[in-house]
């Protein structure tokens, strides 16, 4: 009796996921092997045409897929470095400050992404504070275009990902006993080498978790490339959206989606592998982390 009611409790969530998640995903994979005639009507014969088209065309391969992956990876690198410094500065501040600082880190996550991106448009604009600073200091003699290019998109992605990275790394840093670093210093290590040889390796799990999170968020960026790229920086998710809604080529949009999915899954697999090989190679880390 209780057993059956327990199963009933699972019905709402599992059925909503089945109907609005699993079936659509299977549908999209299937659709990517179909084609569309000129008028947008579906041709249901099996074809690899969409994939051949994507993977042989330099535009899709370089300007779309490679750009998305490349910018997401660079943004991840910057987010992890900035986020690490942030997390480290927070974890080394007074314990009574830390909850408030963490709350400040979480604040942007609660603010609408369109609003956050808009704030960067103001900051990076022709008359924005950054350009004013560059002209005032004489680094540039007139305002330089900072918006609507890859750099702007990069800055936007880093801004979005940094709070997630801080949250991932902060937890791990907090669990590392300070005595370890102090012990290293009492036996003669400089603060820098104590950090490099003790704290940094021990915080690897947080760095990895933060990286995979940041990459996952960056690679499916949608609002940031639209607003900060100004239509000039094409991204996979934006291309999938436009192909589906503007060109009405559903099979090809599905193909773009599936390729994005494969990239995301590949990164997750790589992460799993990295975590596993790290815990195997350094059994000490597994217990300390």
């Amino acid at each position: 009796m209780i057993g059956r009611s327990k199963t009933l409790l699972l019905v709402p969530s599992v059925s909503i996921l089945a109907a609005f998640f699993v079936v659509p995903l299977i549908w999209v994979v299937g659709l990517s092997f179909m084609s569309s005639d000129g008028t947008g009507k579906l041709v249901t014969d099996f074809t690899l045409g969409n994939y051949t088209r994507f993977l042989t065309d330099a535009y899709y391969l370089d300007a779309l897929l490679w750009r998305t992956v490349r910018l997401a990876a660079i943004a991840t690198l910057f987010s992890v470095v900035i986020g690490y410094f942030g997390a480290l500065a927070i974890v080394r501040s007074a314990p009574s400050w830390q909850p408030w600082l963490i709350l400040l880190v979480m604040l942007p996550l609660w603010v609408n992404l369109v609003v956050r991106t808009l704030s960067l448009m103001v900051v990076l604009g022709r008359t924005g504070p950054v350009n004013q600073f560059l002209v005032w200091t004489g680094i540039a003699d007139r305002p330089i275009p900072l918006l609507f290019n890859e750099t702007a998109v990069l800055i936007g992605m880093v801004q979005v990902a940094v709070p997630f990275v801080v949250m991932s790394i902060y937890g791990v840093l907090q669990s590392i006993p300070r005595q370890l670093e102090h012990a290293a210093m009492t036996v003669g290590a400089t603060p820098l080498s104590a950090f490099r040889r003790v704290t940094l390796p021990l915080s690897m799990p947080g760095i990895l978790a933060g990286s995979v999170l940041a990459f996952g968020i960056n690679v499916e960026s949608f609002v940031v490339p639209i607003l900060l790229g100004g239509g000039r920086v094409r991204f996979m998710s934006v291309a999938a959206y436009e192909t589906a809604t503007v060109s009405n080529n559903l099979p090809f949009a599905a193909t773009i989606g599936v390729i994005l999915l494969v990239v995301t899954m590949a990164m997750l697999a790589l992460y799993q592998w990295a975590v596993r090989s790290m815990t195997r190679a350094r059994p000490v880390l597994a217990t300390a982390g």
């Binding site: 996921l17 480290l88 927070i90 007074a94 609408n112 808009l118 900051v123 801004q159 499916e220």
Partner: protein, 283 residues
């Protein structure tokens, strides 16, 4: 001179073995500088946007004057008010229904074990790992192919799908540390399983249900990617409306609107922190 950053000096009561080492003043200065630069990077853009909203002329920082007129303009924009109301309704429905689904699922999974539990919880968590844009694209394709008009129910279902992992994870985590004996005690003193659930288990789960409601609300309220595929004209949400406006206009009104959203998010965040404590445990 509080020395807030040099915790190494402060004796820690929890373990007496802390080796007290006085960091050099240069080191402390470096820490403060890092902290300041980090938060400047993270929060200054929002501050600039707030400042711009008081600018009478254009989206320029620093403002060349002070006015509140752009805040009054908000009330003259029925599109935005309608969008804000649509967003609020959608997010509230998503929060209540999604959290309910999540709580039921977590309770349902409690007595399962082994590979079946792993498989079902894996399914429930999987929207976290699949880009939301693909879920939205997939749903868009289905309703397009079936010839169904975009409607609020599909939009609502999609919002629930992409946020479901959060309540499931929160409630499951709390159930893991849950004292099973409390429910058993209720049952032995004659409560029916239903009474035990309503009177004992659910009230105890409040600590994970309340944050789930708020997080799902925020995620749904801020969602852009799913809504842009699936919202029809009557359900243009606030993020969509903001973006549509930005395509044609760029004046401080949009900064004022944003400031309202920033303040609302901030208030919600701090209220939430008071209620359940979002950050690390205070010592």
């Amino acid at each position: 001179m509080g020395g807030a950053l040099d915790d190494a000096r402060a004796p820690r009561p929890r373990d007496g073995r802390v080796i007290l080492m006085r960091p050099s003043p240069a080191f402390i200065a470096l820490r403060y500088a890092t902290l300041a630069l980090f938060f400047l990077f993270l929060l200054a853009p929002l501050g600039v946007l707030v400042a711009v909203s008081f600018n009478p002329t254009a989206m320029i920082f620093p403002p060349q004057g002070f006015t509140l007129k752009w805040y009054a303009v908000i009330l003259d924009k029925p599109d935005f008010l309608h969008a804000a109301w649509a967003s609020t309704k959608l997010a509230a429905l998503t929060a209540v229904l999604g959290t309910a689904c999540g709580v039921f699922a977590a309770l349902g999974l409690k007595n399962y074990g082994g590979p079946l539990k792993g498989a079902i919880s894996g399914l429930l968590m999987s929207p976290l790992f699949i880009p939301a844009v693909i879920v939205a694209l997939a749903l868009f394709q289905i309703i397009f192919t079936l010839g169904i008009q975009a409607n609020v129910w599909v939009l609502l279902a999609a919002h629930i799908v992409v946020t479901l992992p959060y309540p499931v994870r929160n409630v499951m985590a709390q159930l893991d540390g849950f004292d099973q004996r409390l429910e058993e005690a209720a049952l032995t003193v004659g409560a029916t399983p239903r009474q035990a659930l309503l009177r004992v288990t659910l009230p105890l789960l409040r600590a994970s249900i309340v944050p789930s409601l708020v997080i799902v609300f925020i995620l749904s309220w801020n969602n852009y990617t799913v809504s842009v595929f699936l919202a029809d004209k009557n359900w243009t949400t606030l993020p969509l409306q903001l973006r549509a406006y930005l395509q044609y206009e760029y004046e401080p009104f949009v900064a004022a609107m944003s400031t309202v959203l920033i303040v609302a998010s901030t208030v919600l965040l701090f209220v939430m922190d008071r209620l359940v404590g979002l950050g690390p445990k205070r010592k």
